[in-house]
Amino acid sequence: MDFKNDFEKKTFETCSIFLSEDRISLEHNYTIRTEKTIVSFTGNPQKEIDVLTMEFPNNVKLLVSCKDYGTNVPPAAIQEWGDVLKVLNKHSLFSTYFGLVVASKGFSEGCEAWAKTDNIGLIPPYRGERNEFDESQIFKMLQRVIHVFLKTVYRRGAAEISDNENFYWLCYKTVADL
């Protein structure tokens, strides 16, 4: 497995706790293949999409984006991830896609508005003044979110948390205390 950086490697390892190797994949410069059509994000201007995909039972797929930027992730990155999710869910025949963005340096103001709009989970959560966390805290948050997400889908199904801002809030409330 080729990793772009150590943060991506640790994110992959954290996700690997929950699934066997054949149900988790990492792709760089990803061309989105929906269940109805193929949509490329690699045209001009080139939009580079790296995605870690976790395939859970009942066609539930969690797409994780690792952002190891030198500074806070800007809102445009969340908007972009939202576009990817919208395309996949719109052209989906049987899968339900959820989006999660994991950032080594946290998020900048405005990210939470886009995340709520597109029902995307943010790790670490954007909380205004305190927006930077140790790497170990970030991976603990990721582990906690995936654990709660799995059990919630198992108990309630995916439909409820794919609505409105429910997945965003599931993530926020699961890690707000950490």
């Binding site: 205004g128 654990h147 709660v148 059990k151 919630t152 309630r156 699961t174 707000a176 205390d177």
Partner: protein
Amino acid sequence: MPVPEHGVTIYDKDDNIHKISDLVEELRKQPDRVLIDDEFGISIDISDLDYYVYSFDLEEQKNKKANISTLHHRKKKSQILRVTLEDGVAVEVSEDTLFHVKTEDDQLKYVRADKLEPGMAVLSGITPNGPGVIVY
């Protein structure tokens, strides 16, 4: 309807009030409900049970009962803040509890408990009485 002096106000279908800590202790005996229970806290799925809080309905512009889907109870000690409204009702919440607040230009925004200020109009369902203005 009775309103407790402080604490998170959870109602059942008969409008009896429950303390979150009591509910957590009772429901954690059902392991399949427990979404997580670690050193940070416990989350319990109660979406199939009839427990409610009052929350502000943006479409109807009034406080309504809203079903609780998940109980989150922290183990880590954090700062507990007391929010008092002009009608005398008070709640004690953790610093990162989010409240719906109406801004001067009639917009709604989320404000963390530790960022609330006197004079702010809180729409979140602290009580069945509806929105209230923070005194201190």
